[in-house]
Symmetry: C2
Subunit: 346 residues, 2 copies
Amino acid sequence: MSARYEEAYRGQQVLITGGLGFLGSNLAHRLVALGAEVTIVDSLIPSHGGNLHNVKGIEDQVRINISDVRDPHAMGFLVQGQRYLFNLAGQVSHIDSMLDPMTDLEINCRAQLSILEACRRHNPGVRIVFAGTRQQYGRPIYLPVDEKHLIQPVDVNGINKMAGEWYHLLYGRIYGLAATSLRLTNTYGPRMLLKHNRQGFVPWFVRLALLGEEISIFGDGTQRRDMNYVDDVIEAFLEVAISPQTHGELYNLGHDEIVSLNHFTRALITAAGSGSFRLVPFPPDAKRIDIGDYYGSFDKLRDAIGWTPRVDLAEGLARTVAYYREHLAAYLDESPGGGEPTRGSR
Amino acid sequence: MSARYEEAYRGQQVLITGGLGFLGSNLAHRLVALGAEVTIVDSLIPSHGGNLHNVKGIEDQVRINISDVRDPHAMGFLVQGQRYLFNLAGQVSHIDSMLDPMTDLEINCRAQLSILEACRRHNPGVRIVFAGTRQQYGRPIYLPVDEKHLIQPVDVNGINKMAGEWYHLLYGRIYGLAATSLRLTNTYGPRMLLKHNRQGFVPWFVRLALLGEEISIFGDGTQRRDMNYVDDVIEAFLEVAISPQTHGELYNLGHDEIVSLNHFTRALITAAGSGSFRLVPFPPDAKRIDIGDYYGSFDKLRDAIGWTPRVDLAEGLARTVAYYREHLAAYLDESPGGGEPTRGSR
């Protein structure tokens, strides 16, 4: 795919919620390189993915506004004058959503409504791209999962993310806001949170491999997943935001390379040159919310804007490991009370 | 259908949220007749359907607790010791959900999570039946709409009701709560709110007919609907609550008698012996959220428990008119700022 957006962002005002997190900071790096005027909103909630190290090298070229998307007044001000809003802030831990469903609701539902109300009132012309999640589908009924698949979330996070996405599309239909949702699958790469195991198996496995520790895979390890390297996801966001035909639509991301957890883990250990793994029985709590195999069809997005992932797993893991070999110390801090030692198949 | 539940509720503790409203109060009347120990929770929010007149005749046989489902402490106490929870409280106005999306979210999402947390902690054995809505489906892709139909809500209310329903089913799967959702279609009968036009076309048309006024139908009046008389809906709730095979499931209600708005309105005017109607063009705001034809399949519920509606439209409207001819004054109070003079096709 040629980067049609290469010149589109030069000198443009861009707001990124969750901009110190994994996706947001990678997007900020790319947008700075493209000449955009980037404002980052992040609340640096300790257990979330925000990390000032993530903007190392561009800290003087972005405006960093520490505030919470739950703050309607701050958001009402910050959306003004923006041409693009990449709305990436969220509570993304499925485990935390069950332990503290109200906080998940405040961030993934209430704050989303509040952001959309702010846009509607103060900047109805802003282009919005929202980060949805494959978690919305729950346990697949058929594979690959396309956008017509029934929605059956298996945790509070999946329900609330669903509501958050629908608010975006609804405000598009009713108030004319130009909003698009991308439903992300497992995404990996530099600047992931590694400090606890509550944001899915990928970052936790990366951490264990880098530290030369043993990875526990729940079940027999044959569960299949599609995995996107973060740069491919950033491409999708940048391309979608400048493509009017995507307004009001939702799209799966995904990858043609479908891998088992065993395969992923072996590839990771190979890339890292350290770590090991073993299979362990599913703990009952994890089994209850396990979704089995998941991989999605991204035909709809490919047909709309020509997007396809370009980085395969071996290459993506090599880049990921290279980043963390240089910066690992900035990602290891445990948050207080941070989780069990191993993590399953999500 | 024989009422298998005839003896099941005698002496049982039953909690009804929204118990002074349309559905809740009709359910309370029936449960009192069946010998249940009924506690009603209602906050009597002026623009909502709660009305003390709705429990006239049983006020000494029920416990009326004026409180809001958004109050976690009150709910944490009130769920204790209950055998059944009919969770009917909700913000049900689609129009209000767009004007004040945060209040809709607080009632239809946050309060639902709070009720479920209360049940999980204080009364995990309670049987819960939740009132969902056909609004969750949005504009039908095919007819009749069954439970596998894609969910595409067209207003904030539909999104939040969807989340509220899913919390129930999720808490069933994860924590073992015995919860079922019934997705109601247009329901009519005694004890509906008639004081404003923001709870759908049915009560407003009933009011206008009873007062001998002219009803405006948006569009050409050929939009089709299925309509349930309230007693049939109450049957479904009572039957589902004592049927363990329904736990964790969701079901459409519906009716085999599919009617156009024109047909419904003529039947209403005939039953009332007063009123008139005319067709008017759709106002743009109403057109944007109009869903066209809707009627649902209730095969899943019929297969599960044998439920079918027994009251046809002519009979249901006759009973409805008879009730309001006697009690109309108690239902006419306008709430402050209550809506436009006419109402469309929802």
